[in-house]
């Protein structure tokens, strides 16, 4: 895409998209989100009560945060399939920690989880860059390792309970503002941080790396280091989601199952190009809200949960196919094949 080409020969890649380019990237998913919200309002007029809207935001928080993390990896040219397993591991590990050491300050457990998520992400990043294992395989392996480790540790039945103070972030409201769930505050903080990050030089360089890592490398970008950073942030996002999910519902050995795919679906729904280099983090998060709105709508319409995965499948295929059609037209029109860069 011409809008994402790095400035030629610049040591620091400081390009800025045209003012309307950002809106153009976000527009389709916003249309979808609005359409879904209108449908929700028709099916269930009470949906727009402030209280219920906040409940919707709270419920969407883990997926939106995961989608923001997943966006960073996807836009830089990779995949992170391990996030669901990180969520499950985070919930189970927190419960086991409280089981081993009752009375552990909850912030310590939060810190352990965030560090754990960071570590998983860094390993994903190193395996997929330094060892050149495709990220799809690297994170798939990580997913299986984590799933197996959790199962081995718990033997299928997690021990321990999550205490109330730890569950506050996922379950309770801000004291003095009982209408405002903590999860919405966390979501807002992560959302703002993600937008600020993507507006920084590092964020912009990340997109350029996903667009064309050879060119970015030639322009002086430390491609491997950037990609490791993207995986690390995705791991941290998964840990944050684990804290919210565990807080919301308590211990479950399947807390995060399916989340990796929902996060990828959300990002794709946001119009972010698989393979990297195109799309905005706001659109990815809007994609997550849309997916959650869709699930809510399906529940209200009485469509069974089993159909949810079928719907997700259709969405991913459609979104990628539609993106692929418009892209190949653009490609034939504006680009000649460049053999040597393959």
């Amino acid at each position: 895409m011409t809008g994402t080409e790095p400035a030629s020969g610049a040591a620091h890649l400081r390009w800025r998209p045209a003012p309307l380019a950002g809106l153009r990237a976000v527009a389709p998913v916003l249309v979808l989100l609005v359409a879904l919200l209108v449908a929700l309002a028709v099916v269930d007029p009470g949906f727009f009560d402030p209280e219920r809207l906040l409940a919707f935001l709270r419920r969407s928080a883990p997926l939106v945060i995961l989608a923001a993390g997943q966006y960073l990896v996807i836009v830089s040219g990779g995949f992170d399939l391990s996030v669901g397993a990180v969520v499950t591991a985070g919930v189970v590990v927190a419960a086991e920690l409280f089981n081993l050491a009752p009375g552990l300050p909850w912030l310590v457990v939060v810190a352990v989880l965030l560090l754990g998520g960071l570590l998983v992400g860094v390993v994903n990043g190193i395996v997929s860059t330094v060892f050149a294992v495709p990220s799809f395989i690297a994170t798939l392996g990580m997913m299986l390792v984590l799933q197996g480790a959790v199962f081995f540790w718990t033997q299928g039945a997690p021990r321990g309970y999550l205490p109330e103070d730890y569950r506050m972030l996922g379950r309770s409201a801000v004291p003095g503002a009982e209408w405002l769930p903590w999860a919405v505050v966390v979501l807002a903080v992560v959302g703002v941080a993600a937008v600020l990050f993507m507006r920084s030089d590092t964020g912009r360089t990340l997109v350029a790396t996903g667009d064309n890592d050879v060119a970015a490398g030639l322009a002086g970008v430390r491609v491997a280091r950037l990609r490791i950073l993207a995986f690390a942030l995705s791991g941290v996002a998964a840990a944050v989601a684990a804290i919210l999910v565990g807080g919301f519902t308590g211990v479950s050995a399947q807390a995060g199952s399916g989340y990796e795919f929902q996060a990828i679906t959300a990002v794709v729904l946001g119009g972010v190009a698989l393979g990297g280099g195109r799309g905005s983090v706001v659109a990815a998060m809007a994609g997550a809200f849309s997916l959650q709105a869709l699930f809510t709508l399906l529940t209200l319409l009485g469509v069974s949960g089993a159909l949810e995965s079928a719907v997700q499948g259709v969405i991913v295929i459609t979104a990628v196919a539609v993106g692929g059609i418009s892209w190949s037209r653009r490609a034939t029109r504006t680009h000649q094949p460049v053999r040597e860069s393959v």
Partner: protein, 395 residues
């Protein structure tokens, strides 16, 4: 290069779809069968209700069990004994076990209980176990492999009924076979061990609600997933009971056994209907999430059905809920070992070994509360007298 990247992207997305599809199947496989099944011979895929079997199960609830009162895993309801002299042999014995898998806490608790029972018997010199990890094809080859080894007797906990039937039938020709939990469509096993069944389970909760909820009350039914026969039986019985009651079932929702889905669904119904008067669940692993949905909405928790998991029993006790906990007892994992020793000793066993299926009520709650046990420990494990209790069960 761009075009190629795009193609790769599409391919990877397709692969992601595939993998995630497999992953999202896990909860189904992992949580659906918190239970086993009666033989299920007449249960068809389209119509899960079998009037005769329904009535048989409801009647069995009233039957007086044969066997020691304090050891329900040795009891049998209306047993018809079959001779086993032809299998008699001297010990020590080599028992073999083909397990469908350990894909949920119910099976984990059961499996620990079974291992402990095996350890009680020095005459069992060897206990060979193959875990099918929830896969029919693996269990078929597991059964073939065990049947061709020098096992004296084979215990099978089938993953699914129809698919495993030929493998079990083939094994029957080589050695005595004992089937428990879910059944198979053949009577070749020496004995089939299971609790009363899904109809009795589902009816227990629905009858409780019909009694406790005011007439006209709005009830939400939460089910794990459609199409699993053991779960369909629970719902079919409950549906029947609700039809005969004055209650209004305002929703039947599938939850995939995911606590977040349960909590969100219940919250939605509370908000849409201004509250609920009762909640029926086809399994109890997520019952606490349903309870919390009411708490977080700031409304009283209505009568609710759960299961014998410790987290639910504790929530019931601490919050003074109006609740009932039908059980699908994990103590049934002890019975196949005892049955195996009886068969190899030439003692008669019931052809259909129907175990009691206790329902935990307010009156018996205190007997089953074990605050030091893990949240997903099943109170009906019948494991308290076994060595290494509670440590081996996570307590």
């Amino acid at each position: 290069m761009r075009t190629r990247t795009r193609t790769v992207g599409v391919a990877v997305a397709a692969a992601a779809l595939l993998v995630a599809g497999c992953t999202s199947d896990l909860p189904d496989a992992g949580s659906g069968p918190t239970a086993g099944d009666e033989t299920g011979a007449d249960a068809t895929a389209s119509e899960f209700f079998d009037q005769a079997e329904y009535e048989r199960q409801l009647a069995l609830r009233e039957a007086t069990p044969d066997g020691p009162a304090d050891r329900p895993w040795e009891q049998a309801l209306e047993p018809e004994y079959v001779p086993t002299e032809q299998y008699q042999q001297d010990g020590p014995y080599h028992l073999c076990f083909s397990n469908a898998g350990l894909f949920n806490p119910w099976r984990s608790v059961g499996w620990r209980t079974m291992r402990a029972e095996v350890d009680l018997h020095p005459e069992i010199a060897e206990f060979t176990v193959l875990d099918a990890q929830g896969q029919d094809d693996k269990q078929i080859s597991d059964i073939q492999s065990l049947a061709s080894q020098d096992c004296d007797l084979l215990i099978v906990s089938p993953n699914t009924t129809a698919t495993l039937t030929p493998a079990v039938a083939a094994a029957c020709e080589q050695l005595p076979v004992i089937v428990f939990d879910r059944g198979v469509d053949t009577d070749c096993p020496v004995t089939f061990i299971s609790p009363i069944g899904g109809y009795a389970y589902g009816a227990a909760g629905a009858e409780f609600l019909a009694e406790e909820v005011e007439p006209g009350g709005q009830v939400l039914a939460l089910r794990i997933s459609p199409g699993v026969d053991v779960l369909e039986h629970r719902w079919a019985a409950a549906e029947r009971v609700f039809e005969d009651s004055d209650l209004e079932v305002v929703g039947v929702q599938f939850t995939e056994d995911d606590p977040a889905t349960v909590k969100n669904t219940v919250s939605d119904y509370i908000q849409r209907f201004g509250g609920l008067d009762g909640v029926w669940m086809d399994a109890g692993a997520t019952a606490v999430a349903a309870v919390e949905a009411f708490e977080d909405a700031g409304v009283p928790v209505p009568p609710i059905t759960g299961e014998d998991q410790q987290d639910f029993l504790q929530a019931w006790d601490e919050r003074g809920l109006t609740a009932v906990a039908p059980g699908y007892p994990t103590f049934q994992w002890r019975t196949p070992v005892l049955a195996a020793l009886r068969v190899l000793g030439g003692q008669e066993v019931p052809e259909q070994w129907v175990l009691p299926q206790p329902v935990i009520t307010q009156d018996t709650l205190d007997d089953y509360l074990q605050p030091d046990m893990p949240p997903q420990h099943y109170a009906l494990c019948g494991c308290e007298d076994l060595p290494d209790f509670p440590a081996a069960w996570g307590g």
